[in-house]
């Protein structure tokens, strides 16, 4: 377990970070928030790279920071992969990996070969660093970070510097890394899709303060104010129960509800995470006969709240025990006479799927 009670930034600076959280000893915790929220500062403080931070950091029983002392960065067993990871360009790829391995005091080569295989680095070992693509650099940096034998992995937007089209070349490795290492991972991101895909818990940061912390399915549904309005939506864990390959659709089932979602590359039985944006959900009192929206979920209204937009309301629904959010106008709320406890049909225009790996959510 990782205990964090941290203050960073001196009183003279405009920005300060204050984070109190207990992070489980395994699984991936996303640190999610807009730019400038302090995500990188948090990671740097944990790694021992941030100046002017105080408080308490305990990682698996080892005190890294308290009132009495701050363990220097090189004595903290973290695997830190920065946004644009720095590889030593006076060494080749193998040299970079060995640099970490030697300092981890690790005599056997088994783990080296294992990580080289995991990240598909065999063909790159003798390459010079300048000859690597962005994605290849990330893979080398992640393998190097693991060779250091960390107790905690810190990944700072590891795919943001890579073209959107090529991110899928790296994301599976990150997924594999979290599972393979069996380590707690703190994953900084401002991309909600990455969070849904990779994280078990999410810690929302806003202006240096924790705006929410908990399981992805809980937090992303409830913390949807302010900066996170764009990401407002619900996340549910579901299972693929059917494939309609001629329409490129997958049927996913959660509780007693089934959704048809555009997806390819999934098989029946896959565990998936479904993200339904509040703006993609309309409400009706009965299932309509003919509409282009084919997903109709029966649910019950749990709550109706104002949003920052005067015309819009956010309606929280309970669909078979899972939370689904809908963003509709106040006028629609009035004309349908929606009220907590009332039955309603949620029309879901579309939803995004992300594959889940069973061993991640321990």
């Amino acid at each position: 377990m990782i205990e964090i009670a941290l203050r960073a930034g001196s009183p003279t600076q405009a920005f300060s970070l204050e984070v109190n959280a207990e992070i489980p000893g395994s699984g991936t915790t996303a640190v999610f928030g807009p730019s400038g929220a302090g995500k990188t500062t948090l990671l740097r403080a944990i790694a021992g790279l941030a100046e002017a931070c105080s408080g308490r950091i305990v990682v698996s029983g080892e005190v890294w920071l308290d009132d009495k002392r701050a363990v220097p960065a090189h004595q903290r067993a973290v695997g830190y992969v920065a946004q644009t990871p720095l590889l030593f360009d006076h060494l080749d790829v193998a040299g970079n990996l060995r640099y970490a391995q030697r300092r981890a005091g690790e005599p056997e080569t088994g783990r080296f070969d294992e990580l080289v295989a995991l990240f598909d680095l065999e063909a790159l070992l003798v390459r010079r660093i300048e000859a690597l693509s962005g994605g290849e650099r990330q893979r080398v940096a992640m393998a190097r970070a693991l060779l250091r034998r960390p107790r905690l992995l810190l990944l700072d937007e590891p795919v943001s510097a890579i073209d959107v089209a090529r991110r899928d070349e790296v994301l599976p490795y990150i997924d594999a890394l979290a599972r393979q290492a069996g380590l707690p991972v703190l994953y900084v991101s401002h991309d909600i899709d990455e969070v849904v895909r990779l994280a078990d818990q999410v810690l929302l940061l806003e202006a240096g303060r924790v705006a929410g912390y908990g399981a992805v399915t809980d937090v992303l549904g409830t913390h949807t104010a302010g900066q996170f309005a764009d990401a407002a939506g619900s996340v549910v864990d579901a299972t693929v129960t059917g494939i309609e390959s001629q329409w490129s659709l997958a049927a996913v089932t959660f509780a007693d509800a089934t959704l048809s979602v555009p997806a390819t590359g999934f098989d029946v039985g896959d565990r998936v995470r479904v993200r339904i944006l509040a703006r993609d959900v309309s409400l009706a009192l009965a299932v309509p006969d003919a509409t282009s929206i084919q997903n109709a979920l029966r649910g019950r209204v749990v709550g109706i709240e104002d949003t920052l937009e005067p015309a819009m309301a956010r309606v929280t629904l309970d669909v078979g025990g899972q939370t689904v959010l809908a963003r509709v106008t106040h006028r629609a709320v009035a004309s349908l006479t929606l009220a907590p406890g009332g039955d309603v049909v949620a029309l879901v225009k579309t939803a995004a799927l992300a594959r889940r790996h069973g061993s991640l959510s321990a």
């Binding site: 790694a47 090189h74 004595q75 903290r76 695997g79 830190y80 990871p85 030593f88 300092r103």
Partner: protein, 233 residues
């Protein structure tokens, strides 16, 4: 063409430049590191002090060194008490003077290289478990090597080229303190133009080759001699 005394002077010059360069790298490296990384308010005064030899007349430096290192000087008193005698008019005295005089030529390229390095490589090394000394020798130094080589060549060449300080502190003792530049001066004084030509052309040739090598080295990296960035982007 080159007489025995000329060769002695050249050999002495080479020895002086080698020893001086070695001392300068050892002394200049920590100074450059400090100047590149410190936020102390003493940075500016120390940087100015290190750069002084760039603007001071060599005779002024030589004059003060003569006073300090002489029997009545602060340093001279110490060296005498330690049983080393006084340094003026000895090879060691020349080395001390040359080190002071060429210091900025070594400190500045190395400082620029350290500065261009930035914090990222060192922070990365730290997260990989490398302590401060480890980081310096395995990351900072290798990545700053072009700057260090520039510094060494400049320090060496500048020591070969010095005259005023050497004359003030070392005098003109053949085989002990008579370096090539002083020897040329002596030959011109005694109207031995042929001898002066031989030695002068040798020095012209050496200087050109040294600087050419430096520019070829730097040119391959697209940087200029005194650029802030001594290494590739």
């Amino acid at each position: 063409m080159l007489g025995a005394n000329d060769l002695t002077a050249l050999w002495l010059t080479a020895q002086l430049a080698l020893v001086t360069t070695a001392c300068l790298l050892v002394i200049g490296m920590p100074i450059a590191w400090w100047l590149a990384n410190t936020r102390s308010r003493w940075r500016a005064p120390i940087a100015a002090l290190v750069a002084m030899p760039l603007v001071l007349p060599p005779t002024v430096i030589g004059f003060y060194l003569l006073l300090w290192l002489g029997p009545d000087g602060v340093v001279g008193g110490l060296t005498t008490a330690a049983g080393w005698g006084t340094l003026p008019f000895t090879f060691t005295g020349l080395v001390v003077a040359s080190v002071l005089y060429s210091l900025p030529f070594v400190v500045q390229p190395i400082e620029n290289a350290f500065r261009a390095l930035g914090r990222a490589p060192l922070e990365t090394a730290a997260t990989l478990g490398a302590g401060p000394w480890d980081r310096f020798f395995t990351v900072a130094l290798p990545l700053s090597m072009p700057g260090v080589i520039t510094a060494a060549v400049l320090g060496f060449a500048h020591t070969v080229g010095e005259f005023g300080v050497v004359l003030m502190i070392g005098g003109n003792i053949p085989g002990v303190t008579q370096v090539a530049s002083v020897r040329v001066y002596e030959q011109v004084e005694s109207l031995d133009y042929l001898g002066a030509h031989a030695l002068s052309l040798t020095l012209v040739g050496f200087s050109f080759v040294a600087l050419l090598a430096l520019y070829l080295l730097q040119g391959a990296r697209g940087a200029s001699l005194f650029s802030r960035d001594g290494r590739q982007p």
